[in-house]
């Protein structure tokens, strides 16, 4: 196992070192001032000095993003199942699912505040709104692209609609759902950060979005990049968690037993 994990981590680590090294050298050679382009070494220093506050802020945003993603997963899947149940329902309500995708958070910010108040509630709502669309779209595709031969088999076996839904359509749609979840994971972080810009409360210091805003106002470009880096790492972490979930269910898919009643 050990040498294998070394191989997995080595290429991205090497490319990271190479790219940051190039950026550092370019900034030095081009003599760019710190207030326009912070050197990666300055960003690393800022990250180190402000580690505690940045981690606290990342945790703050991370909780909201994961909650928002969880809600997207559950409600998104349920909405997809509802839309898949009847073509009339689909035609009538699918445009609203598209609406989720296109609404700019800043425009509905006052409404979020009215419904959820300032704070984590509104931030989670923003995270949900931004991340739910790919889950609905992908899961719906999965539910509607069930193998027609298997559907025929179920019909011939006189299966009930519920059985067809739970024993055929839904299991068949799980890979699509997981694809949607992977796409949604990054969006959940973005949604949480945008939500923080408009509706968080600063009581416990706020999240990463707030940290970026403050760093911008204080003209600390190194801190801006440090905070942005933390938000990228948060996105990567959540993506990695979702990929892990994906691997786990694929494992069950191929090798485990699907326990039925």
């Amino acid at each position: 196992m050990k040498p294998l994990s070394g191989v997995l981590w080595l290429p991205p680590l090497m490319s990271f070192v190479l790219i940051t090294g190039l950026i550092e050298c370019s900034i030095i050679l081009m003599d760019l001032p710190a207030y326009l382009a912070p050197r990666p070494s300055a960003v690393a220093l800022a990250l180190f000095i402000h580690a505690e506050e940045l981690l606290k802020a990342t945790r703050h945003t991370g909780i909201a993003a994961i909650t928002g993603l969880g809600m997207s997963a559950i409600l998104g899947a349920l909405l997809a199942i509802t839309l898949a149940s009847h073509p009339l329902i689909r035609r009538a309500f699918y445009p609203y699912a598209v609406f989720f995708q296109t609404v700019p958070i800043i425009a509905i910010a006052p409404m979020l505040v009215i419904w959820f108040g300032y704070g984590q509630g509104a931030v989670v709502a923003a995270s949900f709104i931004v991340s739910v669309s790919p889950i609905i779209a992908n899961t719906l595709t999965g539910l509607l692209s069930t193998d027609p031969a298997l559907l025929d088999l179920f019909r011939i076996a006189k299966a009930s609609r519920l059985d067809t839904l739970f024993k055929l359509r839904i299991p068949g749609a799980i890979p699509h759902f997981l694809t949607g979840l992977r796409i949604a994971s990054g969006l959940a972080v973005i949604g949480a950060i945008v939500g923080e810009f408009v509706a968080d409360s600063y009581e416990d210091g706020g999240g990463i979005g707030t940290a970026v805003e403050i760093a911008l106002k204080e003209q600390r470009t190194d801190l801006v990049f440090a905070a942005v880096l933390m938000s990228s790492l948060l996105g990567l972490l959540i993506f990695w968690l979702v990929s892990g979930l994906n691997q786990l269910s694929l494992k069950y898919w191929h090798l485990g037993e699907f326990k039925d009643s």
Binding site: D152, A157, K167
Partner: protein, 252 residues
Amino acid sequence: MKHRQGAGLKLRGIHRQFEGRPVINHLDLDVAPGEFLAIIGPSGCGKSTLLRLLAHLDQADQGTLDRSEADLDVAFVFQDPCLMPWRSVIDNVALPLELQGVPRHHRIPAAEALLRTVGLGDAQGKFPQQLSGGMKMRVSLARALITRPDLLLLDEPFAALDDITRHHLDDHLQSLWLSHPMTVVFVTHSLSEAVYLADRVIVLSAGGGNITLDYKVPLPHPRTAASRLSTPFIDHLRTVSEAFEGHSRTLA
């Protein structure tokens, strides 16, 4: 426990067209209970459509389809084994009983027994991705048989397999039919397979779904590998082949 012989079917004036083109052209057909009927014909002769009509997956535009019983147990085997990849082999086989509400402690032993019959007793816990094409088809057959269907419909089930596997599966199907009396309607492209398995071979014409030959194959069951090389078999095969090619040639 069923004591039926299998379903009897009576088709009168069955007509089905797609986009103005008749795929089945005022067809009359009687199928006796427990009969093994093979249907052969060139592509587009409507044999798959006919099978779907028998399965009630499709409705005829005109004509009547009478079944000997009102509530028939029908099973269908496609060319694609169609196994659910998220279920183990045994759960795939047990599916039809599960959909009928049969509890686990009844349906699993039944599935086990059928898997043993098709020689896959050790594969119960495996998943479809771990099986070869021939093994998957055997699982598909086992699944089709688990409800002891009155009517078994097969649409070119072994066409995607190599000859040796195909012969083995022909024998599996034959022994299953002999041990579970049921009516079988078997669509195939292979003339020798039709003659090997069936009591009766029907040839459908191209583009129109008319019966050009209705031929009884009076060879005794069970038929074996040796039967394929016997003189009577070759005679029957020749007759069918000439009728098949003769008609095809007139249309070419």
